[in-house]
Amino acid sequence: MAVQIKYFASLRDRLGRAGDRLEVVDGLTVAGVWATLWPDTPLPPNTLTAVNLDYADLAQLVADGDEVAFFPPVTGG
């Protein structure tokens, strides 16, 4: 069971890569995905999260095949 992880914009630059792949266990949340991948790096304040192309909160459970994204506040338009 695995999920794809994506990072965007300043967060990607800070982390030094655009994504990850993570084998996950039942009951893992979006927050848990981050904590597993970046145990020494607290999630930056105001970071936004999405699961499968929709905004999601940190408590959302992830499932096999999900795409999980972390990114800074948006500044389009």
Binding site: F8, A9, S10, A50, L53, F71, T75, G76, G77
Partner: protein
């Protein structure tokens, strides 16, 4: 209705003319108001000269978010049509960045729909700006208020 991300420069007034000429004939005579907002790249921001700008997006999610925003606008106001074009990629000062055009029978709905879509673009759709300044590139950290 048309929603587009553009990787190359575009001319908002040309796009508007083209789209307008293809508006639904069966609604001819009903278009009482068109509200339009054109966003253009400025050459200065937060006290620094900006020589270029890169617009990043989240392929897949950005299109999906814009689509939902337009559906939501149609649900909230009696709109007749919407054209939304947003640049991605590298821009230079004075390049058009975004075009939102909303057709309705009356100006109140047209204005409200146009404003709503602009706020969605600015505050919620996944786009990020990176500016080129004399001190190097920097990510824009916040938008101006609507």
């Amino acid at each position: 209705m048309n929603i587009e991300l553009r990787a190359a420069p575009f001319e908002p007034l040309v796009e508007l003319a083209r789209y307008q000429s293809g508006l639904d004939e069966s609604q001819s005579g009903q278009y009482g108001a068109t509200a339009i907002l054109i966003g253009t790249m400025r050459d200065a921001n937060d006290g620094a000269t900006v020589s270029g700008l890169t617009l990043e997006h989240y392929p897949g999610m950005t299109e999906r978010y814009l689509q939902r925003s337009v559906v939501s606008a149609f649900q909230q106001w009696p709109l007749l049509d919407v054209l939304l074009i947003h640049r991605v990629g590298a821009l230079q000062p004075n390049d058009p960045m975004v075009l939102v055009a909303v057709w309705a029978a009356h100006r109140a709905a047209a204005f409200a729909g146009c404003r709503f879509l602009m706020e969605e673009l600015k505050s919620n759709a996944p786009f990020w700006k990176r500016e080129d300044t004399a001190a190097g590139p920097r990510w824009v950290e916040h938008n101006t208020p609507g």
